[in-house]
Amino acid sequence: MTAVTAAVRPGGRGLARVSVAVITGRNLRRLVRVPTLLAFATVQPVLFVLLFTYAFGGAVHVPGVTRYIDYLLPGIFVLAIGFGASQTGVAIAEDLATGMIDRFRSLPIPAAAVLAGRVAADALRNLFVTGLMIGVGAAIGFRFHAGPAAGLAAVGLAVATGLAFSWLNLLLGLAIRDAESAGLAGLFPVVILFFTSSALVPVATMPGWLQAFAKANPVTVITGALRALSLGGPTARPVTEAAAWLACLLVVTIPAAVASYRRATSC
Protein backbone atom coordinates (compact mmCIF):
# COMPACT_ATOMS: atom_id res chain seq x y z
CA MET A 1 0.00 0.00 0.00
CA THR A 2 1.43 3.38 -0.95
CA ALA A 3 2.43 5.03 2.30
CA VAL A 4 -0.97 4.83 3.89
CA THR A 5 -1.24 6.51 7.22
CA ALA A 6 -4.05 5.54 9.51
CA ALA A 7 -6.29 8.41 8.55
CA VAL A 8 -9.02 7.41 10.95
CA ARG A 9 -9.52 9.15 14.20
CA PRO A 10 -12.80 8.76 15.98
CA GLY A 11 -14.37 12.17 15.54
CA GLY A 12 -16.88 12.33 18.40
CA ARG A 13 -19.87 14.60 17.74
CA GLY A 14 -18.63 15.64 14.34
CA LEU A 15 -18.50 12.07 13.11
CA ALA A 16 -21.94 11.40 14.58
CA ARG A 17 -23.40 14.21 12.48
CA VAL A 18 -21.51 13.21 9.37
CA SER A 19 -22.51 9.58 9.76
CA VAL A 20 -26.21 10.41 9.99
CA ALA A 21 -25.88 12.57 6.89
CA VAL A 22 -24.00 9.84 5.00
CA ILE A 23 -26.62 7.22 5.86
CA THR A 24 -29.39 9.65 4.92
CA GLY A 25 -27.68 10.14 1.57
CA ARG A 26 -27.49 6.40 1.02
CA ASN A 27 -31.20 5.99 1.63
CA LEU A 28 -32.16 8.91 -0.58
CA ARG A 29 -30.11 7.43 -3.43
CA ARG A 30 -31.88 4.13 -2.99
CA LEU A 31 -35.21 5.92 -2.91
CA VAL A 32 -34.78 7.26 -6.43
CA ARG A 33 -33.05 4.15 -7.81
CA VAL A 34 -35.19 1.30 -6.49
CA PRO A 35 -38.42 1.16 -8.52
CA THR A 36 -40.54 -0.20 -5.66
CA LEU A 37 -39.44 2.57 -3.35
CA LEU A 38 -40.06 5.23 -5.96
CA ALA A 39 -43.56 3.84 -6.58
CA PHE A 40 -44.32 3.84 -2.86
CA ALA A 41 -43.29 7.49 -2.78
CA THR A 42 -45.04 8.72 -5.93
CA VAL A 43 -47.69 6.55 -7.58
CA GLN A 44 -49.21 5.19 -4.42
CA PRO A 45 -50.00 8.49 -2.66
CA VAL A 46 -51.52 9.90 -5.84
CA LEU A 47 -53.63 6.77 -6.32
CA PHE A 48 -54.80 6.91 -2.71
CA VAL A 49 -55.95 10.51 -3.11
CA LEU A 50 -57.79 9.85 -6.37
CA LEU A 51 -59.25 6.43 -5.51
CA PHE A 52 -60.63 7.33 -2.11
CA THR A 53 -61.94 10.68 -3.32
CA TYR A 54 -63.85 9.27 -6.26
CA ALA A 55 -64.83 5.90 -4.74
CA PHE A 56 -66.12 7.24 -1.40
CA GLY A 57 -66.70 10.88 -2.26
CA GLY A 58 -70.17 10.29 -3.69
CA ALA A 59 -71.40 8.16 -0.80
CA VAL A 60 -69.97 9.90 2.24
CA HIS A 61 -71.49 13.15 3.40
CA VAL A 62 -69.80 14.64 6.38
CA PRO A 63 -71.85 17.20 8.30
CA GLY A 64 -70.29 20.64 8.13
CA VAL A 65 -67.89 19.78 5.32
CA THR A 66 -68.70 20.89 1.79
CA ARG A 67 -66.11 18.93 -0.17
CA TYR A 68 -65.21 15.36 0.83
CA ILE A 69 -61.59 15.87 -0.31
CA ASP A 70 -61.16 18.46 2.45
CA TYR A 71 -62.25 15.85 4.98
CA LEU A 72 -60.41 12.97 3.36
CA LEU A 73 -56.94 14.29 2.61
CA PRO A 74 -55.61 14.45 6.22
CA GLY A 75 -56.49 10.77 6.67
CA ILE A 76 -54.80 9.90 3.39
CA PHE A 77 -51.63 11.60 4.61
CA VAL A 78 -51.51 9.11 7.47
CA LEU A 79 -52.31 6.15 5.20
CA ALA A 80 -49.65 6.97 2.59
CA ILE A 81 -46.99 7.70 5.20
CA GLY A 82 -47.86 4.55 7.13
CA PHE A 83 -47.69 2.40 3.99
CA GLY A 84 -44.42 3.98 2.93
CA ALA A 85 -42.90 3.30 6.35
CA SER A 86 -43.34 -0.45 5.90
CA GLN A 87 -40.47 -0.21 3.40
CA THR A 88 -38.26 0.93 6.28
CA GLY A 89 -38.80 -2.36 8.11
CA VAL A 90 -38.10 -4.24 4.88
CA ALA A 91 -34.89 -2.28 4.31
CA ILE A 92 -33.44 -2.79 7.78
CA ALA A 93 -34.26 -6.52 7.69
CA GLU A 94 -32.49 -6.75 4.32
CA ASP A 95 -29.49 -4.87 5.71
CA LEU A 96 -29.38 -7.39 8.52
CA ALA A 97 -29.57 -10.37 6.18
CA THR A 98 -26.95 -9.08 3.75
CA GLY A 99 -24.41 -8.28 6.48
CA MET A 100 -24.68 -4.48 6.01
CA ILE A 101 -25.57 -4.12 9.69
CA ASP A 102 -22.52 -6.19 10.64
CA ARG A 103 -20.38 -3.83 8.62
CA PHE A 104 -22.00 -0.67 10.01
CA ARG A 105 -21.65 -2.01 13.54
CA SER A 106 -17.93 -2.57 13.02
CA LEU A 107 -17.47 1.12 12.14
CA PRO A 108 -16.64 3.88 14.63
CA ILE A 109 -20.09 5.50 14.44
CA PRO A 110 -22.81 5.75 17.10
CA ALA A 111 -25.33 2.89 17.14
CA ALA A 112 -28.22 5.25 16.52
CA ALA A 113 -26.64 6.83 13.43
CA VAL A 114 -27.68 4.13 10.99
CA LEU A 115 -31.25 4.21 12.27
CA ALA A 116 -31.42 7.99 12.54
CA GLY A 117 -30.10 8.33 8.99
CA ARG A 118 -32.86 6.08 7.76
CA VAL A 119 -35.50 8.03 9.68
CA ALA A 120 -34.14 11.33 8.34
CA ALA A 121 -34.35 10.05 4.76
CA ASP A 122 -37.90 8.87 5.48
CA ALA A 123 -38.79 12.32 6.81
CA LEU A 124 -37.58 13.97 3.61
CA ARG A 125 -39.53 11.46 1.56
CA ASN A 126 -42.63 12.13 3.64
CA LEU A 127 -42.24 15.85 3.14
CA PHE A 128 -42.21 15.20 -0.60
CA VAL A 129 -45.12 12.73 -0.40
CA THR A 130 -47.24 15.15 1.64
CA GLY A 131 -46.50 17.96 -0.79
CA LEU A 132 -47.40 15.72 -3.72
CA MET A 133 -50.72 14.77 -2.15
CA ILE A 134 -51.52 18.39 -1.38
CA GLY A 135 -50.75 19.26 -5.02
CA VAL A 136 -52.94 16.48 -6.41
CA GLY A 137 -55.62 17.24 -3.82
CA ALA A 138 -55.56 20.94 -4.73
CA ALA A 139 -56.08 20.02 -8.38
CA ILE A 140 -59.34 18.30 -7.47
CA GLY A 141 -60.60 20.88 -5.00
CA PHE A 142 -58.70 20.55 -1.71
CA ARG A 143 -58.01 23.79 0.15
CA PHE A 144 -56.46 24.69 3.51
CA HIS A 145 -59.20 26.65 5.27
CA ALA A 146 -57.24 27.74 8.33
CA GLY A 147 -54.50 29.74 6.70
CA PRO A 148 -50.92 29.03 5.62
CA ALA A 149 -49.41 28.79 9.11
CA ALA A 150 -51.87 26.10 10.16
CA GLY A 151 -51.30 24.42 6.78
CA LEU A 152 -47.57 24.28 7.42
CA ALA A 153 -48.22 22.95 10.89
CA ALA A 154 -50.34 20.20 9.32
CA VAL A 155 -47.46 19.24 7.04
CA GLY A 156 -45.15 19.26 10.06
CA LEU A 157 -47.49 17.01 12.01
CA ALA A 158 -47.75 14.62 9.06
CA VAL A 159 -43.94 14.40 8.88
CA ALA A 160 -43.76 13.93 12.67
CA THR A 161 -46.24 11.07 12.34
CA GLY A 162 -43.85 9.57 9.81
CA LEU A 163 -41.04 9.64 12.40
CA ALA A 164 -43.07 7.44 14.73
CA PHE A 165 -43.99 5.07 11.89
CA SER A 166 -40.34 4.86 10.79
CA TRP A 167 -39.00 4.03 14.25
CA LEU A 168 -41.77 1.47 14.75
CA ASN A 169 -40.90 -0.22 11.47
CA LEU A 170 -37.17 -0.20 12.25
CA LEU A 171 -38.00 -2.00 15.46
CA LEU A 172 -40.23 -4.48 13.61
CA GLY A 173 -37.58 -5.14 10.96
CA LEU A 174 -34.85 -5.71 13.54
CA ALA A 175 -37.07 -7.95 15.65
CA ILE A 176 -38.66 -9.97 12.84
CA ARG A 177 -35.50 -10.12 10.69
CA ASP A 178 -37.28 -11.54 7.66
CA ALA A 179 -37.83 -8.75 5.12
CA GLU A 180 -41.16 -9.94 3.72
CA SER A 181 -42.66 -10.64 7.13
CA ALA A 182 -41.40 -7.32 8.44
CA GLY A 183 -43.08 -5.52 5.54
CA LEU A 184 -46.39 -7.23 6.23
CA ALA A 185 -46.08 -6.62 9.96
CA GLY A 186 -45.59 -2.94 9.16
CA LEU A 187 -48.67 -2.73 6.92
CA PHE A 188 -51.01 -4.72 9.11
CA PRO A 189 -51.50 -2.21 11.95
CA VAL A 190 -51.81 0.65 9.46
CA VAL A 191 -54.62 -1.10 7.57
CA ILE A 192 -56.46 -2.07 10.75
CA LEU A 193 -56.10 1.31 12.41
CA PHE A 194 -56.87 3.25 9.23
CA PHE A 195 -60.19 1.55 8.52
CA THR A 196 -61.31 1.67 12.16
CA SER A 197 -60.56 5.37 12.43
CA SER A 198 -62.22 8.58 11.39
CA ALA A 199 -59.93 8.79 8.34
CA LEU A 200 -62.67 7.94 5.81
CA VAL A 201 -65.95 8.37 7.68
CA PRO A 202 -67.01 10.16 10.86
CA VAL A 203 -66.83 7.98 13.96
CA ALA A 204 -70.50 8.79 14.68
CA THR A 205 -71.56 6.65 11.69
CA MET A 206 -69.95 3.52 13.19
CA PRO A 207 -71.69 0.94 15.41
CA GLY A 208 -71.41 1.72 19.11
CA TRP A 209 -68.89 -1.02 19.99
CA LEU A 210 -66.55 0.24 17.32
CA GLN A 211 -66.93 3.89 18.26
CA ALA A 212 -65.09 3.48 21.56
CA PHE A 213 -62.14 1.88 19.79
CA ALA A 214 -62.24 4.36 16.93
CA LYS A 215 -62.14 7.33 19.27
CA ALA A 216 -59.03 6.07 21.07
CA ASN A 217 -57.40 4.96 17.80
CA PRO A 218 -54.21 6.98 17.23
CA VAL A 219 -55.05 7.36 13.54
CA THR A 220 -58.32 9.07 14.56
CA VAL A 221 -56.48 11.29 17.00
CA ILE A 222 -53.79 12.29 14.48
CA THR A 223 -56.27 12.70 11.63
CA GLY A 224 -58.38 14.85 13.96
CA ALA A 225 -55.44 17.13 14.63
CA LEU A 226 -54.56 17.34 10.94
CA ARG A 227 -58.18 18.25 10.14
CA ALA A 228 -58.24 20.89 12.83
CA LEU A 229 -55.20 22.46 11.18
CA SER A 230 -56.57 22.24 7.63
CA LEU A 231 -60.34 22.66 8.02
CA GLY A 232 -60.20 25.17 10.86
CA GLY A 233 -61.68 25.07 14.35
CA PRO A 234 -60.06 24.66 17.76
CA THR A 235 -56.56 23.18 17.40
CA ALA A 236 -54.97 23.20 20.87
CA ARG A 237 -56.53 20.05 22.22
CA PRO A 238 -56.43 17.78 19.14
CA VAL A 239 -52.85 18.78 18.36
CA THR A 240 -51.77 18.19 21.96
CA GLU A 241 -53.42 14.76 21.95
CA ALA A 242 -51.75 13.83 18.68
CA ALA A 243 -48.38 15.06 19.93
CA ALA A 244 -48.83 13.00 23.10
CA TRP A 245 -49.53 9.86 21.06
CA LEU A 246 -46.49 10.42 18.88
CA ALA A 247 -44.28 11.20 21.87
CA CYS A 248 -45.38 7.98 23.58
CA LEU A 249 -44.66 5.95 20.44
CA LEU A 250 -41.23 7.53 20.02
CA VAL A 251 -40.30 7.12 23.69
CA VAL A 252 -40.99 3.40 23.37
CA THR A 253 -39.73 2.65 19.87
CA ILE A 254 -36.48 4.66 19.73
CA PRO A 255 -34.72 3.04 22.71
CA ALA A 256 -36.09 -0.38 21.77
CA ALA A 257 -34.91 -0.08 18.16
CA VAL A 258 -31.46 1.20 19.19
CA ALA A 259 -31.08 -1.58 21.77
CA SER A 260 -32.14 -4.14 19.19
CA TYR A 261 -29.66 -2.71 16.67
CA ARG A 262 -26.82 -2.94 19.18
CA ARG A 263 -27.37 -6.68 19.47
CA ALA A 264 -28.14 -7.32 15.83
CA THR A 265 -25.92 -9.57 13.73
CA SER A 266 -26.68 -11.44 10.55
CA CYS A 267 -27.93 -15.04 10.88
Binding site: V8, G11, L107, T265
Partner: protein, 341 residues
Protein backbone atom coordinates in the same frame (compact mmCIF):
# COMPACT_ATOMS: atom_id res chain seq x y z
CA UNK B 1 1.26 0.89 17.85
CA UNK B 2 1.04 -1.93 20.40
CA UNK B 3 3.24 -5.02 19.96
CA UNK B 4 0.25 -7.31 19.74
CA UNK B 5 -2.53 -6.75 17.24
CA UNK B 6 -4.78 -9.29 18.91
CA UNK B 7 -4.63 -10.99 22.29
CA UNK B 8 -7.58 -13.17 23.23
CA UNK B 9 -7.76 -15.19 26.40
CA UNK B 10 -10.32 -17.85 27.20
CA UNK B 11 -13.03 -16.53 24.89
CA UNK B 12 -16.30 -18.33 25.45
CA UNK B 13 -19.69 -17.81 23.83
CA UNK B 14 -22.91 -19.76 24.04
CA UNK B 15 -26.08 -19.38 21.99
CA UNK B 16 -28.77 -21.11 24.04
CA UNK B 17 -27.75 -24.74 24.26
CA UNK B 18 -25.02 -24.43 21.67
CA UNK B 19 -21.47 -23.67 22.77
CA UNK B 20 -19.98 -21.72 19.90
CA UNK B 21 -16.67 -20.92 21.57
CA UNK B 22 -15.23 -22.84 24.48
CA UNK B 23 -12.17 -21.07 25.83
CA UNK B 24 -10.25 -19.84 22.80
CA UNK B 25 -6.81 -18.26 23.23
CA UNK B 26 -5.27 -16.37 20.33
CA UNK B 27 -2.35 -14.11 19.69
CA UNK B 28 -1.48 -12.10 16.64
CA UNK B 29 1.70 -10.01 16.76
CA UNK B 30 1.45 -6.59 15.10
CA UNK B 31 2.11 -6.90 11.40
CA UNK B 32 1.56 -10.66 11.43
CA UNK B 33 -0.91 -12.87 9.64
CA UNK B 34 -2.94 -15.48 11.48
CA UNK B 35 -4.97 -18.05 9.60
CA UNK B 36 -7.93 -19.58 11.39
CA UNK B 37 -8.94 -22.88 9.90
CA UNK B 38 -11.94 -24.93 10.77
CA UNK B 39 -14.99 -26.65 9.36
CA UNK B 40 -18.35 -24.90 9.08
CA UNK B 41 -19.83 -24.36 12.51
CA UNK B 42 -16.45 -24.60 14.23
CA UNK B 43 -16.81 -21.12 15.75
CA UNK B 44 -14.65 -19.12 13.34
CA UNK B 45 -17.27 -16.50 12.55
CA UNK B 46 -18.33 -16.14 16.19
CA UNK B 47 -14.71 -15.49 17.08
CA UNK B 48 -14.31 -12.85 14.38
CA UNK B 49 -17.53 -11.16 15.52
CA UNK B 50 -16.30 -10.99 19.10
CA UNK B 51 -12.93 -9.59 18.05
CA UNK B 52 -14.65 -7.06 15.77
CA UNK B 53 -16.92 -5.92 18.67
CA UNK B 54 -20.14 -7.23 17.12
CA UNK B 55 -20.72 -9.80 19.85
CA UNK B 56 -19.79 -9.72 23.51
CA UNK B 57 -18.06 -12.81 24.82
CA UNK B 58 -19.68 -14.63 27.75
CA UNK B 59 -16.26 -15.27 29.22
CA UNK B 60 -12.66 -14.36 28.62
CA UNK B 61 -11.28 -11.12 27.22
CA UNK B 62 -9.82 -9.79 24.04
CA UNK B 63 -7.58 -6.83 23.27
CA UNK B 64 -7.50 -5.67 19.66
CA UNK B 65 -5.15 -2.92 18.45
CA UNK B 66 -4.40 -2.15 22.08
CA UNK B 67 -7.99 -1.78 23.31
CA UNK B 68 -10.29 -4.13 25.16
CA UNK B 69 -13.17 -5.09 22.84
CA UNK B 70 -15.73 -5.07 25.63
CA UNK B 71 -14.63 -1.84 27.35
CA UNK B 72 -13.48 0.31 24.45
CA UNK B 73 -15.36 -0.99 21.41
CA UNK B 74 -15.39 2.43 19.73
CA UNK B 75 -11.58 2.67 19.95
CA UNK B 76 -11.27 -0.82 18.47
CA UNK B 77 -13.71 0.02 15.67
CA UNK B 78 -11.67 3.04 14.61
CA UNK B 79 -8.69 0.76 14.01
CA UNK B 80 -10.12 -2.34 12.41
CA UNK B 81 -11.52 -3.34 9.06
CA UNK B 82 -14.01 -6.20 8.74
CA UNK B 83 -15.10 -8.15 5.74
CA UNK B 84 -17.65 -10.72 6.81
CA UNK B 85 -18.89 -13.80 5.06
CA UNK B 86 -21.37 -11.88 2.96
CA UNK B 87 -20.61 -9.22 0.42
CA UNK B 88 -21.98 -6.41 2.58
CA UNK B 89 -22.35 -3.78 -0.11
CA UNK B 90 -25.39 -1.83 -1.25
CA UNK B 91 -26.54 -3.15 -4.64
CA UNK B 92 -28.21 0.14 -5.57
CA UNK B 93 -25.14 2.27 -5.04
CA UNK B 94 -22.23 2.25 -7.46
CA UNK B 95 -19.01 0.57 -6.42
CA UNK B 96 -17.43 3.94 -5.83
CA UNK B 97 -20.40 5.25 -3.83
CA UNK B 98 -20.20 2.19 -1.59
CA UNK B 99 -16.52 2.76 -0.89
CA UNK B 100 -16.91 6.49 -0.30
CA UNK B 101 -19.83 5.85 2.05
CA UNK B 102 -17.79 3.47 4.20
CA UNK B 103 -14.77 5.79 4.07
CA UNK B 104 -16.89 8.72 5.27
CA UNK B 105 -18.28 6.58 8.09
CA UNK B 106 -14.71 5.88 9.19
CA UNK B 107 -14.26 9.62 9.46
CA UNK B 108 -12.29 10.22 6.27
CA UNK B 109 -12.80 13.58 4.62
CA UNK B 110 -14.84 13.61 1.42
CA UNK B 111 -11.70 14.15 -0.64
CA UNK B 112 -9.68 11.46 1.12
CA UNK B 113 -12.53 8.95 0.91
CA UNK B 114 -12.82 9.53 -2.84
CA UNK B 115 -9.05 9.23 -3.26
CA UNK B 116 -8.94 5.95 -1.37
CA UNK B 117 -11.99 4.62 -3.25
CA UNK B 118 -10.30 5.23 -6.59
CA UNK B 119 -7.02 3.76 -5.36
CA UNK B 120 -8.54 0.59 -3.92
CA UNK B 121 -10.94 0.15 -6.82
CA UNK B 122 -7.92 0.14 -9.10
CA UNK B 123 -5.97 -2.31 -6.99
CA UNK B 124 -8.82 -4.78 -6.77
CA UNK B 125 -9.67 -4.63 -10.45
CA UNK B 126 -12.88 -2.66 -10.05
CA UNK B 127 -11.87 0.60 -11.71
CA UNK B 128 -13.89 0.06 -14.87
CA UNK B 129 -17.00 -0.89 -12.94
CA UNK B 130 -16.60 1.86 -10.34
CA UNK B 131 -19.49 3.93 -11.67
CA UNK B 132 -21.87 1.04 -12.17
CA UNK B 133 -24.47 0.04 -9.62
CA UNK B 134 -23.31 -2.99 -7.67
CA UNK B 135 -26.40 -5.01 -8.63
CA UNK B 136 -24.78 -5.39 -12.07
CA UNK B 137 -21.61 -6.88 -10.51
CA UNK B 138 -20.71 -10.56 -10.50
CA UNK B 139 -20.43 -12.36 -7.17
CA UNK B 140 -16.65 -12.17 -7.32
CA UNK B 141 -16.70 -8.42 -7.99
CA UNK B 142 -19.02 -7.86 -5.02
CA UNK B 143 -16.69 -9.86 -2.84
CA UNK B 144 -13.70 -7.79 -3.93
CA UNK B 145 -15.65 -4.58 -3.38
CA UNK B 146 -16.49 -5.80 0.10
CA UNK B 147 -12.83 -6.40 0.86
CA UNK B 148 -11.99 -2.98 -0.60
CA UNK B 149 -14.53 -1.42 1.75
CA UNK B 150 -12.84 -3.06 4.73
CA UNK B 151 -9.52 -1.55 3.60
CA UNK B 152 -10.79 1.95 2.87
CA UNK B 153 -9.50 3.53 6.07
CA UNK B 154 -6.18 1.62 6.08
CA UNK B 155 -7.00 -0.23 9.31
CA UNK B 156 -4.16 -1.46 11.48
CA UNK B 157 -5.94 -4.77 12.12
CA UNK B 158 -7.93 -6.42 9.36
CA UNK B 159 -10.45 -9.24 9.83
CA UNK B 160 -11.39 -11.23 6.79
CA UNK B 161 -13.96 -13.99 7.26
CA UNK B 162 -13.55 -16.43 4.38
CA UNK B 163 -12.56 -13.65 1.98
CA UNK B 164 -12.10 -15.72 -1.16
CA UNK B 165 -15.18 -17.91 -0.86
CA UNK B 166 -16.97 -17.55 -4.19
CA UNK B 167 -14.05 -15.98 -6.02
CA UNK B 168 -12.76 -17.39 -9.28
CA UNK B 169 -9.05 -18.31 -9.45
CA UNK B 170 -8.00 -14.96 -10.95
CA UNK B 171 -9.98 -13.04 -8.34
CA UNK B 172 -8.43 -15.15 -5.62
CA UNK B 173 -4.92 -14.53 -6.91
CA UNK B 174 -5.57 -10.79 -7.22
CA UNK B 175 -6.84 -10.65 -3.66
CA UNK B 176 -3.93 -12.68 -2.31
CA UNK B 177 -1.58 -10.27 -4.03
CA UNK B 178 -3.22 -7.24 -2.43
CA UNK B 179 -3.30 -8.90 0.99
CA UNK B 180 0.35 -9.84 0.65
CA UNK B 181 1.27 -6.22 -0.08
CA UNK B 182 -0.87 -4.95 2.78
CA UNK B 183 0.69 -7.22 5.34
CA UNK B 184 4.14 -6.46 4.00
CA UNK B 185 3.32 -2.81 4.70
CA UNK B 186 2.48 -3.61 8.32
CA UNK B 187 -1.24 -4.36 8.46
CA UNK B 188 -2.05 -7.17 10.87
CA UNK B 189 -4.40 -9.70 9.34
CA UNK B 190 -6.62 -12.37 10.82
CA UNK B 191 -8.34 -14.45 8.21
CA UNK B 192 -10.59 -17.43 8.51
CA UNK B 193 -10.70 -19.89 5.70
CA UNK B 194 -11.69 -23.37 4.75
CA UNK B 195 -9.00 -23.40 2.09
CA UNK B 196 -5.80 -24.92 3.36
CA UNK B 197 -4.01 -23.47 0.39
CA UNK B 198 -5.05 -19.97 1.36
CA UNK B 199 -3.74 -20.37 4.89
CA UNK B 200 -0.46 -21.77 3.57
CA UNK B 201 -0.14 -18.97 1.09
CA UNK B 202 -0.90 -16.06 3.43
CA UNK B 203 -0.46 -17.03 7.04
CA UNK B 204 2.70 -17.27 9.13
CA UNK B 205 0.75 -18.85 11.95
CA UNK B 206 -2.30 -21.05 11.84
CA UNK B 207 -4.79 -22.14 14.46
CA UNK B 208 -7.25 -24.90 13.82
CA UNK B 209 -10.60 -24.53 15.53
CA UNK B 210 -13.08 -27.31 15.91
CA UNK B 211 -16.28 -27.22 17.97
CA UNK B 212 -15.30 -23.96 19.61
CA UNK B 213 -11.84 -25.04 20.73
CA UNK B 214 -8.38 -24.51 19.36
CA UNK B 215 -7.22 -28.04 18.60
CA UNK B 216 -3.88 -27.16 17.06
CA UNK B 217 -1.65 -24.16 16.49
CA UNK B 218 1.68 -23.47 14.90
CA UNK B 219 3.20 -22.54 11.57
CA UNK B 220 1.80 -24.31 8.53
CA UNK B 221 5.03 -26.37 8.50
CA UNK B 222 4.64 -27.43 12.12
CA UNK B 223 1.07 -28.47 11.56
CA UNK B 224 2.10 -30.51 8.59
CA UNK B 225 4.62 -32.22 10.85
CA UNK B 226 1.86 -32.91 13.37
CA UNK B 227 -0.01 -34.68 10.65
CA UNK B 228 2.88 -37.05 10.88
CA UNK B 229 4.40 -38.95 8.11
CA UNK B 230 4.99 -38.29 4.47
CA UNK B 231 2.47 -39.61 2.04
CA UNK B 232 3.02 -42.23 -0.60
CA UNK B 233 0.52 -41.72 -3.36
CA UNK B 234 -0.08 -44.47 -5.88
CA UNK B 235 -2.18 -44.42 -9.02
CA UNK B 236 -3.79 -47.73 -9.89
CA UNK B 237 -3.84 -48.80 -13.54
CA UNK B 238 -7.20 -49.73 -15.13
CA UNK B 239 -8.38 -53.28 -14.62
CA UNK B 240 -6.74 -53.61 -11.23
CA UNK B 241 -8.51 -53.21 -7.89
CA UNK B 242 -7.00 -50.29 -5.92
CA UNK B 243 -8.01 -52.09 -2.71
CA UNK B 244 -5.62 -54.91 -3.57
CA UNK B 245 -2.89 -52.33 -4.00
CA UNK B 246 -3.74 -50.87 -0.58
CA UNK B 247 -3.77 -54.29 1.06
CA UNK B 248 -0.44 -55.29 -0.42
CA UNK B 249 1.30 -52.11 0.71
CA UNK B 250 -0.42 -51.54 4.06
CA UNK B 251 2.39 -53.23 6.04
CA UNK B 252 4.88 -50.68 4.68
CA UNK B 253 2.89 -47.73 6.00
CA UNK B 254 2.62 -46.29 9.47
CA UNK B 255 -1.12 -45.75 9.22
CA UNK B 256 -4.22 -46.85 7.41
CA UNK B 257 -4.11 -46.44 3.64
CA UNK B 258 -6.85 -44.27 2.14
CA UNK B 259 -8.41 -45.62 -1.02
CA UNK B 260 -10.13 -43.37 -3.52
CA UNK B 261 -11.84 -45.83 -5.84
CA UNK B 262 -13.20 -43.14 -8.14
CA UNK B 263 -9.83 -41.59 -8.77
CA UNK B 264 -8.21 -45.04 -8.56
CA UNK B 265 -5.73 -43.68 -6.04
CA UNK B 266 -4.22 -45.00 -2.83
CA UNK B 267 -2.62 -42.72 -0.26
CA UNK B 268 -0.46 -44.29 2.41
CA UNK B 269 1.26 -42.52 5.30
CA UNK B 270 4.83 -43.70 5.52
CA UNK B 271 7.35 -43.09 8.33
CA UNK B 272 10.60 -43.31 6.43
CA UNK B 273 9.75 -41.73 3.12
CA UNK B 274 12.59 -42.55 0.79
CA UNK B 275 13.81 -45.59 2.73
CA UNK B 276 10.76 -47.70 1.97
CA UNK B 277 10.72 -47.27 -1.79
CA UNK B 278 12.68 -50.46 -2.46
CA UNK B 279 10.37 -52.41 -0.14
CA UNK B 280 7.38 -51.02 -1.99
CA UNK B 281 8.83 -52.18 -5.26
CA UNK B 282 9.52 -55.61 -3.81
CA UNK B 283 6.02 -56.06 -2.47
CA UNK B 284 4.42 -54.91 -5.71
CA UNK B 285 6.48 -57.45 -7.66
CA UNK B 286 5.68 -60.23 -5.17
CA UNK B 287 1.94 -59.53 -5.38
CA UNK B 288 2.04 -59.16 -9.16
CA UNK B 289 0.61 -55.64 -9.00
CA UNK B 290 1.39 -52.67 -11.16
CA UNK B 291 1.15 -48.92 -10.53
CA UNK B 292 0.61 -46.27 -13.18
CA UNK B 293 2.00 -43.52 -11.02
CA UNK B 294 3.85 -43.09 -7.75
CA UNK B 295 4.63 -39.99 -5.74
CA UNK B 296 6.11 -39.35 -2.36
CA UNK B 297 5.17 -36.03 -0.79
CA UNK B 298 4.76 -34.07 2.45
CA UNK B 299 1.26 -34.19 3.94
CA UNK B 300 -1.01 -31.31 2.96
CA UNK B 301 -2.66 -29.18 5.60
CA UNK B 302 -5.87 -30.84 4.53
CA UNK B 303 -4.42 -34.12 5.76
CA UNK B 304 -3.10 -32.44 8.87
CA UNK B 305 -6.61 -31.21 9.49
CA UNK B 306 -8.04 -34.65 9.00
CA UNK B 307 -5.50 -36.17 11.34
CA UNK B 308 -6.27 -33.59 14.04
CA UNK B 309 -10.05 -33.46 13.81
CA UNK B 310 -10.93 -36.80 12.33
CA UNK B 311 -12.83 -34.82 9.72
CA UNK B 312 -12.01 -33.30 6.40
CA UNK B 313 -12.00 -29.52 6.65
CA UNK B 314 -15.24 -28.99 4.74
CA UNK B 315 -16.80 -32.26 5.81
CA UNK B 316 -19.64 -30.92 7.91
CA UNK B 317 -20.89 -28.23 5.64
CA UNK B 318 -24.27 -26.95 6.74
CA UNK B 319 -25.32 -29.96 8.79
CA UNK B 320 -24.88 -28.49 12.25
CA UNK B 321 -23.66 -30.71 15.05
CA UNK B 322 -22.84 -33.98 13.34
CA UNK B 323 -19.98 -35.62 15.16
CA UNK B 324 -20.31 -38.94 13.38
CA UNK B 325 -19.95 -38.33 9.71
CA UNK B 326 -19.05 -41.50 7.88
CA UNK B 327 -15.30 -42.17 8.27
CA UNK B 328 -15.01 -43.91 4.91
CA UNK B 329 -16.51 -40.91 3.18
CA UNK B 330 -14.13 -38.67 5.06
CA UNK B 331 -11.17 -40.73 3.97
CA UNK B 332 -12.31 -40.73 0.36
CA UNK B 333 -12.79 -37.02 0.40
CA UNK B 334 -9.40 -36.40 1.94
CA UNK B 335 -7.77 -38.65 -0.61
CA UNK B 336 -9.61 -36.90 -3.41
CA UNK B 337 -8.70 -33.39 -2.42
CA UNK B 338 -5.17 -34.16 -1.34
CA UNK B 339 -3.75 -34.52 -4.79
CA UNK B 340 -0.15 -33.42 -5.18
CA UNK B 341 0.33 -29.94 -6.52
Amino acid sequence: MPDMAIVAEGLGKRFGQVTALDGVDLELPAGGVLGVLGPNGAGKTTMVRILATLLRPDSGRAVVAGFDVARRPEAVRARIGLSGQYAAVDPFLTGQENLIMIGRLYGLSRRRARQRAVELGGRLGLAEAARRQVRTYSGGMRRRLDVAASLIAAPSVLFLDEPTTGLDPQGRMALWQVLGELTAAGTSLLLTTQYIEEAERLAEAVVIIDRGRVIARGTPGELRARAGADRLELACPPGQDPRRLAAALAPVGCGEPAVDEQARRVVLPVADGTGILSEVAGRLTAAGLAVSGLALRRPTLEEAFLALTGQPSAGRAGTGPDPDSEPAAAARQAGGSGSPR
